[in-house]
């Protein structure tokens, strides 16, 4: 960027609007997810859940946030002050950064200017997500170390080992996806998923159909990476050996905000990678053609439906996260490591080799 790039006012405005919308949505995901988590959990357990604050209890997260803000900022005497204060910020910043490369819609044409519905189409593509989310482990380490307590330390060590182990399986499952699509740009991958299979034209070429094994490994790994329940050893609700045992109030809840942001990003990543991203669901296109729309109306309906499809897919994944959380018991630590290193990594490696053979034979 030595000479600088020509940035028009239009591009700047578009960027600012996109950034504003994405930040707004990301910030609202956490409270809504907290509400959804509590409601869905209680419905599964034949309860009602929070329904007092606001319609259907939707304002409950606001009440919770108000409680957290007005709580006393208690700092235990034995902590290492500076790092203790810094850790929540360190864990939350990568969570906000990662969503930047996820395309939530196609490139749209506004008066001759092309606007990508994606914050940044970096040429490193999703490697950026991997890189930045690998930094999020520092929030955990810093919190556990700064707490200067045994339980926080154990929680932090477990969390770190878990996140590093599953990053490996995650990366290896993505390698086969790179081989199939020949690109690391999520926008290009999403576009490639718009095609259909030759032998069965109503089935789109989504990653989940091309690479079911990679999808499974990726799916399991993001549960571990986001510290969700079958692998929630870092939090350790049951025996309270978590990296944030010494935290309270808004600092504690910012760790949770980071967790929900990671979940959203992971769901968006999974959607863009394996579920066709903003590609419409099969049948949607036939439906709008049947409606008889033409020209601009058709174009904007399609854009709207595509963004909607992306949102629906992400929401389904997020709800699935919740359903899994209240279904499965937690893995023991040795089972976790066994699954990560002795099951997922070898399967991912075999998958890469098989994919390479299939590509060289021209089957993919």
């Amino acid at each position: 960027m030595a000479g600088g790039v020509d940035v028009t006012t239009f591009e700047l405005t578009a960027m600012a609007i996109k950034l504003g919308i994405v930040l707004l949505i990301l910030l609202h995901v956490a409270p809504i997810m907290v509400w959804a988590e509590r409601r869905i959990c209680s419905w599964m357990q034949n309860r009602t859940g929070p329904n007092r604050v606001g319609p259907f209890g939707l304002l409950q997260p606001l009440a919770d946030a108000a409680k957290f803000i007005f709580k006393e900022e208690y700092v235990p005497a034995h902590v290492r002050k500076g790092f203790y204060e810094l850790a929540p910020a360190v864990s939350i910043i990568p969570a906000f950064l990662t969503f930047a490369v996820i395309p939530f819609g196609p490139s749209i044409d506004i008066g001759g200017n092309l606007v990508h519905l994606q914050l940044a189409d970096l040429n490193v593509g999703f490697v950026y997500i991997l890189a930045i989310s690998s930094l999020s482990v520092y929030g955990t380490i810093m919190a556990s170390w700064a707490s200067n307590s045994k339980y926080a330390m154990f929680g932090g060590l477990r969390a770190t080992a878990q996140m590093i182990s599953y990053e490996l399986a995650l990366g290896l499952s993505l390698v086969s996806m790179i081989m199939v699509y020949g690109s690391v740009s999520l926008q290009e991958i999403t576009q490639a998923q718009g095609e259909v299979f030759a032998f069965f034209p109503s089935l789109p070429k989504w990653g989940v159909f091309l690479q079911p094994v990679a999808f499974l490994i990726f799916f399991i790994s993001i549960f571990a990476e986001t510290n969700r329940l079958p692998f929630d050893l870092p939090e350790g609700e049951a025996e309270i050996i978590g990296f944030h045992v010494e935290y309270g109030g808004m600092k504690w809840s910012s760790f949770f905000l980071a967790e929900y942001l990671h979940m959203t990003t992971a769901a968006g990543f999974l959607t863009a990678m394996f579920l066709g991203g903003w590609q419409m669901f099969p049948g949607m296109y036939t439906a709008i053609v049947a409606l008889g729309l033409e020209g601009d109306a058709l174009y904007w309906t399609m854009v709207g439906l595509r963004v909607l499809s992306f949102a629906i897919k992400v929401m389904v994944i997020l709800v699935f996260f919740i359903v899994v959380r209240f279904t499965l018991p937690r893995f023991r630590y040795d089972q976790l490591m066994h699954l990560g290193w002795k099951v997922l990594v070898p399967i991912a490696l075999v998958n890469i080799v098989v994919t390479a053979y299939m590509i060289s034979f021209g089957w993919l």
Binding site: M44, N46, R47, T48, V323, V324, T327
Partner: protein, 147 residues
């Protein structure tokens, strides 16, 4: 007792079992009825035999109690304190009638022992209060329920 169950071939893969579990939770989520009630609005119907907050029954504005001391005698928690006295219209009446409600175990023996049908346990179970109530005579004379 520890029962060792054989793990089947398919169960070793775990995925099928996960699917089954997800099916069960989703079934509960979508199709089963809540078993809880919304308490302040909805209330559970209790038996008429329920033993709740105490009161002393009155007839024509006069307490039934004659301070016969049967209830403090029978009380296993020893929480009823009565001081008897004489009055123009009544040969014997309780000057003080206090129940140490923290010690009361709501066994209902006092109600059974009472020959005058005076001390009663009503159906009221919401006994939390904003003040420190003393369950003295004035408070107990408030008529609660039709029992």
């Amino acid at each position: 007792m520890l029962i060792k169950r054989e793990t089947g071939f398919l169960q070793r893969f775990y995925l099928l079992e996960v699917m089954k579990g997800l099916f069960i939770t989703t079934k509960n989520w979508l199709f089963s009825k809540n078993i809880t009630i919304q308490y302040p609005e909805q209330r559970r119907k209790y038996s008429p035999l329920f033993r709740g907050q105490h009161y002393i029954k009155t007839t024509n504005g006069v307490e039934n109690c004659t301070a016969c001391m049967l209830c403090p005698t029978v009380c296993p928690a020893d929480c009823i304190h009565i001081e008897a006295g004489e009055r123009a219209d009544k040969e014997k009446f309780p000057v003080r009638f206090e129940i140490d409600i923290l010690r009361c175990c709501f066994c209902g023996y006092c109600e059974e022992a009472c020959p005058k049908d005076a001390i009663k346990l009503s159906g009221i179970y919401e006994m939390a209060d904003y003040e420190r109530r003393v369950y003295d005579k004035n408070f107990l004379l408030i008529q609660r329920g039709s029992k």
